[in-house]
Amino acid sequence: MQFAQICDQVDTAATRKIDHAGLIGTWVNSNPDTTGIARMVVEELEGKLTLRTLAIGPEGLIDWGTSELSVYGSSPSSDVAAGFACQYDFGFAETLLQGMLLKGLMVLAQIHSFKDQSDRVPFFVREYFALDHGRF
């Protein structure tokens, strides 16, 4: 088994399937004054886990549409989701979203790269999202 660090070395009997139930739902930005993503909806559609993103625009929310998620565990032997990644291609820009669960909080890193002639630099933003659980 090849590895790049000790934690890559695990016993594996069969291909693992990560339980992504903990990712499903509506994730709301903790910052009401965000200029980025307002909320994210994770759902399973036709056997695929997808993310729908709604971002803050000058005249209200902008629907980015859906993107298929890649799911990550917390270790190579993990079978419970601890994060996700997906990509949006808007034509003028690409955005990579990488989410990591920390104590129920989704820490979302966003890497925005522009492909147009606007000379805007690529940028990084990290925001926090809570799962709208509706219990309280």
């Binding site: 090849q2 790049a4 990550y72 565990g73 990488q98 925005h112 147009d116 990084f124 933003v125």
Partner: protein, 141 residues
Amino acid sequence: MSQLLDFKQNSHLDPALTDPATRTLNADKLVGRWVNTNPDTKGVAEITIKQERDQFSVNVKGAGPDGLISWPTVQAKVLANLEEEAGQRAVAFAATFAFGFMTAETYLRVNKGVLVIVLFNTFHDDSGRSSYVTREFFYRP
């Protein structure tokens, strides 16, 4: 000017994104050798970030059973970091390490003098290992 720009969220119109000073802002806060705060880590042991003009390279050493494992040195993608307060702002980096059997995608940033990395590891072999994500912290020795 902003009305001429395409956008998908308000931050795409942030004036800082077209400010030349944003490209390498406070990069010195990241350049140098960093050591994992956890001496028992089973992941990344140390990181060295070098700057040559406006280019940055990242070298990682993973903890191995018989000593450190040197990963291939890669060029970092420099990212303006808009999340910190203006006085705390420094660039962040994204870097991708391709091992063949695995790809490790990471972003690196500094928060109050600590280098924070988040690694998204994806296996491409038939080992049955799960893709996984880790976060680790580094200090300047």
